[in-house]
Subunit: 208 residues, 2 copies
């Protein structure tokens, strides 16, 4: 059904605000708003306030550009993390994904995007200067590129390498290959081809 | 991926608030919150405020229980609408759906739910007294039951009929049958059976 004929402008306004969110259409927006109307006023107020407060008070870490409640985020200030290795990621979601693996104990650098001419995103839109500043001011030994394995990710890797290559740092890139649990017949040719070229010596612990 | 390891409590709080909405999981909530973080502060503030304002200021029409910005909604106050016929619906969404058909020019009554013992919803949770008040105070000639064609809808129809039957009002129920465009072979037996029993005289305009 089409949605006009709202019996309330307040309702219409709230529905339109929700419908601006990605993946939320008018019908879903109406469902969400009517759900909120059935909640306690205090709960709805908390919801609204948490959104306003989020945008007003949240900060980007001045070292790594991660989202933070403080000037420097709790990963950068953690003395137990290796300060000489930086993992470069596109967004905070990638930080959370890598943290969930418990396989990395260094620092991050959140670029805030990747170079994508199609979307009008160039190097100047990314926090590359801040990354360079980190390299200059700290004893960084390794930069890990953990960007998407897409054309845009590869372009960004190449750009960063060209720009930062002059520093005495090792550059590495996360392993690409067949994901654990995948059946070979369903894997795209490029991934499968690369996984053969980049094969490693067999060890019994590999897939554990 | 699991979501813990939030780098910000404000972020975590906003994600948790979004994840309380129906059909929104933690991952979707994070996507929506990160989208909001990329918007202008004024836009995000508008979004939050519209939610808070909605719950604080919205009213239920004192005649029909529809959502309204005013004491009496704009359908009830419209002098061009037939005041002697009331269409009983479950929720405001049904009002909007029927309004979109442009086939009804009477008034509505929004029950705010239907009788559903499984969900703990009884007659006292619905705005039935208000409907009775409407019948007593106005010259109502027909009550149309436009509730879902489910067990709960049928139960509610029956309850309303038993309670309001003492008044001199015609009770009707919306037509049930094969939806326009449906192929017979895919229709459930009950609907198809009823549509044969409740067949009407063929007129050339029927499916127009």
């Amino acid at each position: 059904m089409e949605l006009h004929n709202y019996s309330s402008h307040l309702l219409e306004k709230a529905v339109n605000e929700f419908a601006k969110l990605p993946g939320i259409g008018k019908k879903t927006a109406l469902r969400l708003v009517l759900h909120l109307l059935n909640q306690d006023e205090a709960d709805v107020s908390n919801f609204g306030e948490s959104i306003i407060q989020l945008k007003k008070e949240i900060k980007h870490c001045k070292k790594c550009n991660n989202i933070s409640d403080t000037e420097i985020c709790n990963i950068c200030t953690n003395p137990n993390r290796a300060g000489n290795i930086i993992c470069v990621v596109e967004s905070i979601r990638d930080v959370m994904a890598i943290e969930n693996t418990h396989q990395f104990n260094g620092l991050y650098h959140v670029l805030g995007g990747i170079i994508s001419p199609m979307d009008g995103i160039g190097p100047n839109d990314l926090s590359i200067d801040l990354l360079e500043k980190s390299i200059l001011e700290n004893k960084i030994e390794e930069i890990i590129f953990a960007l998407p394995t897409t054309m845009e990710g590869d372009t960004t890797n190449f750009y960063l390498f060209k720009k930062l290559n002059k520093y005495e740092v090792t550059f590495s890139v996360i392993a690409r290959g067949v994901a654990i649990g995948d059946e070979l017949e369903y894997i795209d040719e490029i991934t499968l081809g690369r996984s053969i070229v980049a094969r490693s010596v067999y060890e019994n612990t590999l897939s554990q």
